[in-house]
Symmetry: C2
Subunit: 126 residues, 2 copies
DNA sequence: GGCTATAGGGACAAATGTAGCCCTATGTCA
DNA sequence: TGACATAGGGCTACATTTGTCCCTATAGCC
């Protein structure tokens, strides 16, 4: 005779179909306050760290570096270091990173399309 | 004669073009560990809180409630309370929420497409 | 009565993420 | 020599997010 916990587990298994949806994986990769901005900028051709920092002025160099490192570690961007002084570094999307472009475009488009409403909604007071 | 800080500001203004890209707004709305899953499930027709909780077993009821409230506050989903006992509640996408579907689909598709690689990448050890 | 189911929230702890500060190193220009 | 550019990382403190535990309320079933 099954105990209550067993029944519960069976019940859950019956009802939960494919909860492990891919959207969770995508979210995980984009997790980080500035990652989407970084990917967008790099996709638009902004390659050097200093330029990225100028184009995303609300973020600290520190945080951008941290998140750039993570994007590189995840294989979405690659880093080229030119052995020069002063140092020169360029980031670009990898092949894998380029497969993300449709997602980036969809997010960019939706955000721009509904900009006014979103800015209202996202006010700290609201 | 401009002081150094002034030069810096002018320099930034010249180089920074349109850093306020829509992708940031979209990210902000999707911020929250389980929001994308919730939106996906609701979009797939899962409407009742208990069903959502069963389909997203890694999240606590508590957190799902918090994030459902936020999605409702942001106008992406609406909540119908049936005056019954035991209580019955159903969530569904609003018109505004439905405009997000292309983004959700793009994220879901990319995540599923690259599932194996992403699961490797996102291991805590890696 | 004791267990399940329905739905939800308060209070607090733990984890994670982000921001700020300081440091290195070197080349160019005034 | 001092200011600015280039690029990056360590450490600490704060902020935000998540997770845990406990509480309400009612109907059905054994």
């Amino acid at each position: 005779m099954p105990s209550a916990p067993d029944l519960l587990v069976m019940y859950q298994k019956k009802i939960a179909p494919d909860f492990e949806c891919g959207i969770v994986l995508t979210k995980e990769v984009l997790n980080g306050k500035w990652k989407s901005s970084l990917l967008y900028q790099i996709a638009m051709g902004v390659q050097r760290p200093s330029a990225l920092q100028r184009n995303i002025p609300d973020a600290t160099r520190r945080v951008l570096n941290v998140q750039l490192n993570e994007l590189e570690r995840h294989g979405l961007i690659s880093k080229t270091i030119y052995p020069q002084l002063p140092p020169k570094v360029e980031y670009s999307l990898t092949d894998f990173g380029r497969t993300l472009l449709p997602v980036i475009e969809a997010m960019t488009h939706w955000g721009n399309e509904h900009r006014e409403r979103l800015e209202q909604i996202l006010l700290p007071s609201h």
